[in-house]
Amino acid sequence: MTPETPASCSIVLESRPSALEGICQQILTELKAFSFSEDDVFGVHLALEEAFLNAVKHGNKMDPTKTIKIEYTIDRGKVEIAITDEGDGFDPSNIPDPRVGDNLFRPEGRGLLLIGAYMDVMEYNDSGNCVFMAKYKRKPTNN
Protein backbone atom coordinates (compact mmCIF):
# COMPACT_ATOMS: atom_id res chain seq x y z
CA MET A 1 0.00 0.00 0.00
CA THR A 2 1.31 3.45 -0.93
CA PRO A 3 2.39 5.44 2.16
CA GLU A 4 0.36 8.55 3.09
CA THR A 5 3.25 10.51 4.58
CA PRO A 6 6.07 11.81 2.38
CA ALA A 7 9.49 10.31 2.96
CA SER A 8 12.37 12.72 3.36
CA CYS A 9 15.96 12.58 4.44
CA SER A 10 19.09 14.72 4.58
CA ILE A 11 22.49 13.08 4.80
CA VAL A 12 26.13 14.10 4.43
CA LEU A 13 28.32 11.55 2.67
CA GLU A 14 32.01 11.06 2.16
CA SER A 15 33.19 12.23 -1.25
CA ARG A 16 33.90 8.86 -2.86
CA PRO A 17 31.82 7.10 -5.56
CA SER A 18 30.87 4.08 -3.46
CA ALA A 19 29.54 6.27 -0.61
CA LEU A 20 26.25 6.63 -2.50
CA GLU A 21 25.27 2.97 -2.31
CA GLY A 22 23.35 2.91 0.99
CA ILE A 23 21.30 6.08 0.48
CA CYS A 24 20.72 5.16 -3.17
CA GLN A 25 19.19 1.82 -2.17
CA GLN A 26 17.08 3.65 0.42
CA ILE A 27 15.74 6.07 -2.21
CA LEU A 28 15.01 3.28 -4.71
CA THR A 29 13.17 1.30 -2.02
CA GLU A 30 11.09 4.38 -1.13
CA LEU A 31 10.26 4.98 -4.80
CA LYS A 32 8.96 1.43 -5.12
CA ALA A 33 6.96 1.86 -1.90
CA PHE A 34 5.37 4.98 -3.41
CA SER A 35 4.46 2.94 -6.52
CA PHE A 36 6.80 4.63 -8.99
CA SER A 37 7.13 2.57 -12.16
CA GLU A 38 10.21 0.48 -12.99
CA ASP A 39 11.10 2.98 -15.70
CA ASP A 40 10.87 5.86 -13.24
CA VAL A 41 13.03 4.01 -10.71
CA PHE A 42 15.62 3.28 -13.40
CA GLY A 43 15.68 6.92 -14.48
CA VAL A 44 16.00 8.33 -10.97
CA HIS A 45 18.71 5.78 -10.19
CA LEU A 46 20.72 6.77 -13.25
CA ALA A 47 20.30 10.51 -12.57
CA LEU A 48 21.33 10.02 -8.94
CA GLU A 49 24.46 8.05 -9.88
CA GLU A 50 25.47 10.59 -12.53
CA ALA A 51 24.86 13.63 -10.31
CA PHE A 52 26.72 12.10 -7.37
CA LEU A 53 29.69 11.10 -9.54
CA ASN A 54 29.78 14.63 -10.98
CA ALA A 55 29.88 15.99 -7.41
CA VAL A 56 32.73 13.63 -6.43
CA LYS A 57 34.83 14.05 -9.58
CA HIS A 58 34.14 17.52 -10.92
CA GLY A 59 32.77 19.28 -7.81
CA ASN A 60 35.00 18.01 -5.02
CA LYS A 61 37.72 16.94 -7.48
CA MET A 62 38.18 13.55 -5.78
CA ASP A 63 39.24 15.27 -2.53
CA PRO A 64 38.41 12.70 0.19
CA THR A 65 38.38 15.37 2.90
CA LYS A 66 35.33 17.01 1.31
CA THR A 67 31.71 15.91 1.68
CA ILE A 68 28.51 15.76 -0.36
CA LYS A 69 25.04 16.52 1.02
CA ILE A 70 22.00 14.69 -0.31
CA GLU A 71 18.47 15.80 0.53
CA TYR A 72 15.37 14.14 -0.84
CA THR A 73 11.62 14.10 -0.51
CA ILE A 74 9.36 11.48 -2.04
CA ASP A 75 5.58 11.61 -2.02
CA ARG A 76 2.78 10.04 -4.05
CA GLY A 77 3.33 12.35 -6.99
CA LYS A 78 7.01 13.21 -7.21
CA VAL A 79 10.57 12.73 -6.02
CA GLU A 80 12.84 15.70 -5.39
CA ILE A 81 16.57 15.33 -4.80
CA ALA A 82 19.22 18.00 -4.12
CA ILE A 83 22.93 17.17 -4.22
CA THR A 84 25.41 19.74 -2.93
CA ASP A 85 29.19 19.47 -3.15
CA GLU A 86 31.94 21.64 -1.65
CA GLY A 87 33.47 22.62 -4.97
CA ASP A 88 33.66 25.98 -6.71
CA GLY A 89 30.71 25.15 -8.94
CA PHE A 90 30.36 25.43 -12.69
CA ASP A 91 28.13 26.91 -15.36
CA PRO A 92 26.12 24.06 -16.92
CA SER A 93 25.59 26.15 -20.08
CA ASN A 94 29.34 25.83 -20.75
CA ILE A 95 29.13 22.03 -21.00
CA PRO A 96 29.23 21.00 -24.68
CA ASP A 97 26.47 18.84 -26.13
CA PRO A 98 27.95 15.32 -26.23
CA ARG A 99 25.78 14.44 -29.25
CA VAL A 100 27.31 17.05 -31.56
CA GLY A 101 30.24 16.53 -33.94
CA ASP A 102 33.38 15.00 -32.50
CA ASN A 103 31.89 15.19 -28.99
CA LEU A 104 29.98 12.05 -29.91
CA PHE A 105 33.25 10.12 -29.72
CA ARG A 106 34.53 11.65 -26.49
CA PRO A 107 34.51 9.18 -23.58
CA GLU A 108 33.16 11.75 -21.08
CA GLY A 109 30.53 14.46 -20.73
CA ARG A 110 27.21 12.57 -20.88
CA GLY A 111 26.12 12.85 -17.24
CA LEU A 112 24.15 16.09 -17.54
CA LEU A 113 22.49 14.96 -20.75
CA LEU A 114 21.27 11.79 -19.04
CA ILE A 115 20.10 13.60 -15.90
CA GLY A 116 18.15 16.05 -18.06
CA ALA A 117 16.65 13.25 -20.13
CA TYR A 118 15.46 11.14 -17.21
CA MET A 119 14.37 13.86 -14.75
CA ASP A 120 11.58 16.39 -15.33
CA VAL A 121 13.51 19.14 -13.55
CA MET A 122 17.28 19.70 -13.40
CA GLU A 123 18.40 23.05 -11.99
CA TYR A 124 21.71 24.29 -10.62
CA ASN A 125 22.03 27.02 -8.00
CA ASP A 126 23.77 30.27 -8.96
CA SER A 127 27.17 29.11 -7.75
CA GLY A 128 26.79 25.79 -9.58
CA ASN A 129 27.64 23.45 -6.71
CA CYS A 130 24.11 22.21 -6.01
CA VAL A 131 21.85 20.38 -8.44
CA PHE A 132 18.13 20.09 -7.77
CA MET A 133 16.36 17.29 -9.63
CA ALA A 134 12.70 16.29 -9.67
CA LYS A 135 10.67 13.60 -11.35
CA TYR A 136 6.89 13.49 -11.43
CA LYS A 137 5.02 10.23 -11.42
CA ARG A 138 2.75 11.80 -13.99
CA LYS A 139 4.27 14.64 -15.93
CA PRO A 140 2.42 17.93 -15.35
CA THR A 141 0.49 19.20 -18.35
CA ASN A 142 0.98 22.73 -19.66
CA ASN A 143 -2.51 24.15 -19.35
Partner: protein
Amino acid sequence: MADIKPNVQVDYKDHATVVTFVDRKILEEQDIRGLQDSLNSVLDQMDDICLVLDFCNVEFLSSAVLGLLLRLSKRIHERNGKLTLCSISPKIYEVFKITQLTKVFEISDNVENALADLA
Protein backbone atom coordinates in the same frame (compact mmCIF):
# COMPACT_ATOMS: atom_id res chain seq x y z
CA MET B 1 43.86 -5.01 -1.46
CA ALA B 2 41.01 -4.38 -3.84
CA ASP B 3 38.54 -7.18 -4.40
CA ILE B 4 38.83 -8.08 -8.09
CA LYS B 5 35.71 -9.83 -9.39
CA PRO B 6 35.70 -12.08 -12.47
CA ASN B 7 33.45 -9.66 -14.33
CA VAL B 8 33.64 -10.96 -17.90
CA GLN B 9 33.25 -14.34 -19.54
CA VAL B 10 35.20 -14.90 -22.75
CA ASP B 11 34.10 -17.37 -25.45
CA TYR B 12 36.21 -17.96 -28.53
CA LYS B 13 34.09 -18.69 -31.62
CA ASP B 14 35.26 -19.48 -35.17
CA HIS B 15 35.75 -15.96 -36.37
CA ALA B 16 35.00 -13.81 -33.34
CA THR B 17 35.49 -13.50 -29.63
CA VAL B 18 32.40 -13.04 -27.48
CA VAL B 19 32.88 -11.22 -24.19
CA THR B 20 29.89 -11.37 -21.85
CA PHE B 21 29.57 -8.92 -18.99
CA VAL B 22 28.80 -10.97 -15.90
CA ASP B 23 27.69 -8.20 -13.54
CA ARG B 24 24.10 -6.95 -13.45
CA LYS B 25 25.22 -3.45 -12.51
CA ILE B 26 28.36 -1.74 -13.80
CA LEU B 27 28.90 1.39 -11.81
CA GLU B 28 32.00 1.62 -9.70
CA GLU B 29 35.15 3.15 -11.12
CA GLN B 30 37.03 0.14 -9.79
CA ASP B 31 34.74 -2.25 -11.69
CA ILE B 32 35.09 -0.19 -14.87
CA ARG B 33 38.87 -0.12 -14.58
CA GLY B 34 38.79 -3.90 -14.03
CA LEU B 35 36.62 -4.32 -17.11
CA GLN B 36 38.94 -2.15 -19.16
CA ASP B 37 41.94 -4.22 -18.07
CA SER B 38 40.08 -7.45 -18.89
CA LEU B 39 39.00 -6.21 -22.32
CA ASN B 40 42.47 -4.89 -23.13
CA SER B 41 43.91 -8.31 -22.23
CA VAL B 42 41.44 -9.93 -24.64
CA LEU B 43 42.39 -7.49 -27.41
CA ASP B 44 46.10 -8.04 -26.78
CA GLN B 45 45.65 -11.74 -27.56
CA MET B 46 43.90 -11.13 -30.88
CA ASP B 47 45.60 -10.61 -34.26
CA ASP B 48 42.47 -9.76 -36.24
CA ILE B 49 40.01 -8.20 -33.84
CA CYS B 50 36.43 -9.34 -34.24
CA LEU B 51 34.72 -8.71 -30.92
CA VAL B 52 31.16 -9.16 -29.68
CA LEU B 53 30.24 -7.57 -26.35
CA ASP B 54 27.24 -9.34 -24.84
CA PHE B 55 25.12 -7.23 -22.45
CA CYS B 56 22.59 -10.00 -21.66
CA ASN B 57 23.23 -9.79 -17.90
CA VAL B 58 23.47 -6.02 -17.62
CA GLU B 59 20.50 -4.27 -16.05
CA PHE B 60 22.13 -0.98 -15.12
CA LEU B 61 25.17 1.02 -16.15
CA SER B 62 26.48 4.55 -15.77
CA SER B 63 27.83 6.93 -18.40
CA ALA B 64 31.34 5.90 -17.33
CA VAL B 65 30.68 2.55 -19.05
CA LEU B 66 29.83 4.41 -22.26
CA GLY B 67 33.25 6.05 -21.95
CA LEU B 68 34.87 2.65 -21.58
CA LEU B 69 33.09 1.41 -24.72
CA LEU B 70 34.19 4.46 -26.71
CA ARG B 71 37.83 4.02 -25.65
CA LEU B 72 37.60 0.35 -26.57
CA SER B 73 35.98 1.12 -29.92
CA LYS B 74 38.74 3.63 -30.76
CA ARG B 75 41.42 1.08 -29.97
CA ILE B 76 39.70 -1.60 -32.08
CA HIS B 77 39.21 0.68 -35.07
CA GLU B 78 42.82 1.83 -34.90
CA ARG B 79 43.71 -1.82 -35.48
CA ASN B 80 41.11 -2.18 -38.26
CA GLY B 81 39.07 -4.49 -36.08
CA LYS B 82 35.33 -4.94 -35.75
CA LEU B 83 33.11 -4.47 -32.69
CA THR B 84 29.44 -5.31 -32.21
CA LEU B 85 27.34 -4.94 -29.07
CA CYS B 86 24.40 -7.26 -28.47
CA SER B 87 21.55 -8.32 -26.15
CA ILE B 88 21.08 -4.83 -24.76
CA SER B 89 17.94 -4.53 -22.62
CA PRO B 90 15.35 -1.91 -23.65
CA LYS B 91 16.19 0.32 -20.66
CA ILE B 92 19.92 0.27 -21.44
CA TYR B 93 19.22 0.74 -25.16
CA GLU B 94 17.35 3.92 -24.25
CA VAL B 95 20.59 5.24 -22.69
CA PHE B 96 22.37 4.59 -26.02
CA LYS B 97 19.56 6.32 -27.88
CA ILE B 98 19.54 9.42 -25.63
CA THR B 99 23.30 9.81 -26.02
CA GLN B 100 23.00 8.98 -29.76
CA LEU B 101 25.66 6.31 -29.39
CA THR B 102 23.39 4.13 -31.52
CA LYS B 103 25.10 6.07 -34.36
CA VAL B 104 28.54 5.03 -33.15
CA PHE B 105 28.12 1.36 -32.27
CA GLU B 106 26.90 -1.60 -34.26
CA ILE B 107 24.17 -3.18 -32.12
CA SER B 108 22.57 -6.60 -32.67
CA ASP B 109 19.61 -8.24 -30.97
CA ASN B 110 21.55 -11.30 -29.81
CA VAL B 111 24.87 -13.11 -30.04
CA GLU B 112 23.84 -15.20 -33.05
CA ASN B 113 22.91 -12.11 -35.07
CA ALA B 114 26.05 -10.33 -33.94
CA LEU B 115 28.22 -13.23 -35.11
CA ALA B 116 26.34 -13.35 -38.41
CA ASP B 117 26.85 -9.60 -38.90
CA LEU B 118 30.57 -9.98 -38.28
CA ALA B 119 31.03 -13.00 -40.55
